[in-house]
């Protein structure tokens, strides 16, 4: 039974790893390309890690927690590195003219200074004003 689960998880993991890298190769530009590896490859590695967890649990008779640590680390860091790559891409290859309007009184955080704290604007800052009143 454990053998079946391990085999199925390895095959699923390999499939998703392949899909992620195929997306990286095939999608048209970086912002869409970013989607494939960060989602599918993490799922692929997650499948392989769970397979390894089940395998060593079945062989040694006790649960091994190393894999959980690795997958937790990967799940935490994958969105951070994706965000950093997207931000660096906007910074290096785009200008404010290429981007859609933000719909707010201030510009994209890459190109414009953050709005001053004591300035009351539409949108978020109402909560800020309420918080200031409460204090």
């Amino acid at each position: 039974m454990a053998e079946l689960i391990v085999s199925a998880l390895i095959v699923i993991g390999g499939f998703f790893g392949l899909v992620g890298s195929f997306g990286l190769l095939k999608l048209p530009d970086l912002m869409t390309r970013l989607h494939a590896p960060t989602k599918a490859t993490t799922l692929g590695v997650g499948g392989v890690l769970v397979a390894s967890m089940v395998y060593f649990s079945a062989v040694e008779g006790q649960i091994s927690w190393h894999e959980l640590m690795i997958s937790l680390f990967l799940f935490i860091t994958a969105p951070i590195s994706a965000k950093m790559i997207a931000k660096a891409y906007l910074h290096v290859h785009k200008t404010p003219a290429d981007l859609p309007p933000t719909g707010r009184p201030y510009g994209w955080s890459n190109f414009a200074a953050p709005p001053p704290d004591d300035e009351v604007l539409d949108g978020f800052p109402k909560a800020q004003a309420a918080r200031r009143e409460a204090e």
Partner: protein
Amino acid sequence: MIDAALTFGFGAFGLALLMNLARLAKGPTLMDRVLALDTMVINVIALIILYGVKQGTAVYFEASLLLAMVGFVSTVALCKFLLRGDVIE
């Protein structure tokens, strides 16, 4: 059955690495290459884990954990360098 699945896994992740290598060579932008390197590190982690299952030892977890950390730090350092012109300000 696990042997067959392992062979499939090695083949799939090896092919994935080749695709990443193609993207790394082709570019076209700098960030594509950074993303390809990041994905390569993740695929190599999966390969190391599969190799550990094949050998039946647990000594490869430390290697894959180290690789995960180094891969993340190097990706963030590259992005930070491109964003600010400096890694640690």
